[in-house]
Amino acid sequence: MTVIINGSSATLPGDPRVSLLDFLREHLHLSGTKKGCDQGACGACTVLVDGERILSCLALAVQFDGRQVTTIEGLSDDAGLHPLQQAFIEHDGFQCGYCTPGQICSAIGMAAEAKRGLPSHVSADLTAEVTLTREEMQERMSGNLCRCGAHNGIIDAIRETVVAGMAA
């Protein structure tokens, strides 16, 4: 059983208890994906699976046979940082940097959800095209906790890139 992580294939673990998060961190040493609570409450472990954001601490690695997983390490390349990564630096969208990979992966997943027209709790019209207003972004990013209090910078960074269509 193999999974594709950032374009490279990896053999899934034999122990079915291993979460996708621990598989990334402990088996592949891709420690950019963070463990903040290990129970789906903080969002630090957010990764993209086939383009959708998921909490990798609540997923067992063996579930992902044949799937495409993108982690924070897969967003930048030799050409440089992903525009959203650069925007996080410009807008000081983090302090300690621990929740940051999850925030960035989550924002990219959020942009795709909005593009697909998925409404949120604050959407007035559940069938309308989604406009990522500040409130929509706040609601959709509320699953990613930040204790340093970089909330404003995170929104500014997302607005500048994801909403502008640079990162969807």
Binding site: R17, C42, Q95, G149, A150, H151, G153
Partner: protein, 777 residues
């Protein structure tokens, strides 16, 4: 920042390059009659310009390797079992099944744990960092509900976690104190904070209060809080022969190394603590049981150990802010003059630590009054040792004080800002010292204007928008300037004109490494790209605690001292063949990578030239910062005026914070980009304190009931409006760079400003935090 701003900055940098001018060396002490740091007068340098944090590219790519991510050959994983009673003894502890479980290497309990000394408890000496004076896994005694009783070591984390679940413990309970009422019944004792009694009396405040024409006198309560940095505590630990190496997340590498040396009977130099990245600290990332347990386990089994606490483990093992009950009484004349301020009460503490939440600190210098009575007493409970959390004392103390000021303003019919300004002291009301730099009146005026305070209707409940009652509130925040003794800096200047600045300081997201590079570049006259900063390693000389908002000042003074030594060495090396021949340190300044005679800048020689002629590759100097004499001569504080607009639902009583503005007076701002984030971060933690944060303690058995981020609520995106931050930027002439701390002031005053806004919105005065729906319905 967008491309246009970048271009502007680049253009600005060119102009600045042309305007670069000679910077004299800074004074190395700040006493009456001294001169201010010359960097204060330098208006177009790096200081005050927005610089992106240097570790940004690493962090946004997930390449910064935190402590629990270091991989060591042969490493085993640890899992902890926790006691479930508050006090007593372990009667039976069955570890057989755990030891037999697949992958288990060993189970460590008090029976087989290596013998260790109890850690020196924080506050007992300058290098003590222990959470309490309790022995760790050395006997069968239980002192708090949640104390570790066993460490399972296994080849994988899954195996360790499973085996831990197989451990069965039974207990013989002893009588315990787990309710506040019982603790109070046992009696309160005066609090001692860092060796000083938490007691100030001036005049007869109680008698003056009774005689005052107007007074307020109420009890305010604040609950336990947890820091809840998103990075849970953890360490990766190795014994290299007899030397202990810990990849840690630490706010105090030097003290941690010294304390662990005491625990394991080692020399301090035999312990190395490395902590290049800290995933949030807020006072919580010190020395706790897990580093000691991990080191003991690694010693016992002869293999490296990764000990990463679960989120629940953090709540069980890492203390937070304790609860307080505070009485604030203010007596005043009809025109608002304060005749008496009484601020007293209790904080809960364990019997084994040393942290009486000092909630009177802010009140000591906030307002003038004819009489004062300030005191903190403590009551003992069987609980995990409480500790420092962002603005310890001030965060909860300003809630009580600044709520009371608002209540008095209502009683007197005076605008709450006006009432504060009428009682602005001209010198420190308790110590009698002059203020070094206090421009809180300017902060109030600028803040009120920017926020639109004049539009506030002082009548509660007067403004309604649909289902929402809307109210405005304000409060003062304050936090002292600290600069602790013991800081040092090592500067290495290389022949190719680069400088390496090393300080035993910490980067938890404050922007310390970036600001240090900015300041060092300015002092040395080098481009910031040629200055490398190393930090977060106990091998670096000196000790700089990331606490008390003191790092910038402490590092600043250490770099000044090392800079003096460096220039002295350069002049010696330059010798008689140099244009600098015959000059002393006082005669020269730095500019463009060169030393120049101050009054004759054409007499100069570059660092690279001096080193090349001397055939030296590097010069290395290490110097201690001067003693912090300034705090003996002046009363020194950061100040703020906090403004909040809330909307309270008339249907659900939900409170939404709609606007926040913080107006700060914190000396010269070094890096507006990172300082703004510090202010905002503190304010947001203050919003959490006001509306949702509480560590729930089961008074029946001392168990923390909400040990998770699902049940301990912190502000999320939807709770955080855009937060405006402005500042006076007035330099303090008596500090390095004219700076004050900015890390803790942000949280102070916020909870009161929210509660005061809720009063303005609804007419309901809430004196217990957090403000809950049920108290507003």
């Amino acid at each position: 920042m967008n491309i246009v701003d970048n271009a502007k900055l680049a253009a600005q940098a060119v102009v600045q390059g042309a305007m670069a001018k000679l910077v004299p060396l800074a004074p190395d002490s700040w006493i009456p009659g001294g001169v201010p740091d010359p960097l204060i007068a330098r208006k177009h340098g790096l200081i005050g310009s927005p610089v992106s944090r240097r570790d940004g590219p690493l962090k946004v790519q997930g390449q910064a390797r935190f402590a629990a991510e270091v991989v060591l050959e042969g490493m085993v994983y640890a899992a902890l079992a926790y006691a479930t009673i508050p006090r007593g003894r372990i009667a039976t502890l069955d570890t057989d099944a755990a030891e037999a479980a697949p992958g288990v290497v060993a189970v460590m309990t008090w029976r087989n744990c290596p013998r260790m000394n109890p850690p020196a408890v924080f506050g007992s000496s300058p290098t003590a960092a222990g959470p309490s004076d309790l022995p760790i896994l050395q006997d069968d005694r239980i002192h708090w509900n949640g104390q570790p009783i066993a460490v399972v070591l296994a080849e994988t984390q899954e195996q360790a976690d499973h085996a831990r679940s197989l451990i069965v413990a039974t207990y013989q309970a002893d009588p315990s104190t787990t309710s506040l009422a019982a603790a109070k019944a046992h009696g309160a004792v005066p609090g001692l904070f860092m060796g000083t009694a938490l007691l100030n009396e001036k005049g007869d405040a109680e008698a003056t209060l009774v005689a005052a024409p107007h007074r307020v006198d109420h009890l305010y309560r604040t609950p336990r809080h947890n820091h809840n940095a998103i990075e849970p505590h953890g360490a990766t630990i190795l014994w290299d022969g007899d030397d202990l190496v810990i990849h840690d997340m630490s706010q105090m590498v030097t003290a941690t190394a010294a304390t662990l040396a005491g625990v394991f009977d080692l020399e301090p130099a035999q312990v190395r603590i490395m902590s290049p990245y800290v995933g949030g600290g807020f006072g919580g990332k010190g020395l706790w049981d897990h580093q000691i347990l991990g080191a003991a386990a690694a010693k016992m089994i002869g293999r490296p150990v990764r000990i990463a606490l679960s989120r629940e483990g953090v709540f069980r093992l890492v203390g937070g802010r304790t609860l307080t009950e505070q009485r604030v009484a203010i007596g005043a004349t009809a025109d608002g003059h304060f005749t008496a301020i009484v601020h007293s009460g209790i904080a809960a503490m364990s019997a084994h630590n040393n942290m009486p939440e000092p909630f009177i600190l802010a009140t000591q210098s906030a307002y003038a009054a004819d009489s004062f009575k300030l005191s903190v007493d403590t009551v003992a409970m069987n609980m995990l040792a409480n500790t420092f959390m962002r603005a310890p004392g001030e965060a909860v103390g300003t809630f009580a004080l600044e709520s009371a000021i608002d209540e008095l303003a209502t009683e007197l019919g005076i605008d709450p800002i006006e009432l504060r300004l009428r009682n602005e002291p001209d010198k420190d009301p308790v110590s009698g010292l002059p203020f070094s730099s206090r421009h809180i009146d300017e902060a109030w005026r600028a803040g009120a204007e920017a926020f639109g305070w004049s539009a506030r209707n002082p009548v509660p409940g007067a403004r309604r928008e649909g289902e929402w009652f809307v109210g405005l509130g304000c409060a003062t925040g304050t936090y002292p300037y600290h600069r602790m003794p013991g800081a040092a800096a090592r500067i290495t200047l290389t022949r190719d004109g680069r400088a390496i600045v090393e300080v035993a300081a910490h980067e938890m997201g404050m922007g310390t490494s970036t600001t240090t590079a900015m300041v060092a570049a300015e002092r040395l006259g080098l481009p910031i790209e040629q200055v490398e900063v190393r930090y977060g390693d106990s091998i670096i000389p000196g000790a700089i605690l990331a606490g008390g908002s003191q790092q910038t000042a402490a590092i600043g003074a250490a770099v000044i001292a090392a800079h003096h030594a460096l220039v002295g060495e350069l002049l010696k090396l330059a010798g008689n063949d140099s244009a600098l021949a015959g000059l002393s340190v006082a005669d020269v300044g730095t500019e463009d990578g060169a030393l120049c005679k101050l009054d004759e800048p054409s007499r100069r020689e570059s660092y690279t030239s001096i080193l090349a002629r001397a055939q030296r590759d590097t010069i290395v100097v290490t110097e201690q910062a001067s003693q912090p004499l300034e705090i003996q001569h002046w009363s020194m504080h950061s100040h703020s005026a906090i403004f909040v607009e809330v909307a309270v639902s008339s249907v659900t009583a939900e409170t939404r914070v709609r606007r926040v503005l913080g107006s700060f007076d914190c000396g010269r701002i070094m890096n507006p980009k990172t300082a703004r984030s510090q202010f905002r971060g503190g304010i947001i933690m203050g919003l959490g304190m006001a509306l949702m944060e509480e560590t729930q303690f089961d008074e029946r058995n001392g168990r923390i009931m909400n040990p998770s981020l699902a049940e301990y609520h912190v502000p999320v995106q939807m709770d955080v409006p855009e937060i405006d931050v402005i500042w006076t930027d007035i330099a303090d002439p008596h500090t390095p760079m004219g700076a004050h701390g900015v890390g803790e002031i942000g949280i102070t005053g916020v909870a009161a400003a929210v509660a005061n806004a809720i009063y303005n919105a609804t007419g309901k005065r809430i004196r217990d935090l957090p403000v809950r729906l049920d108290t507003l319905l």
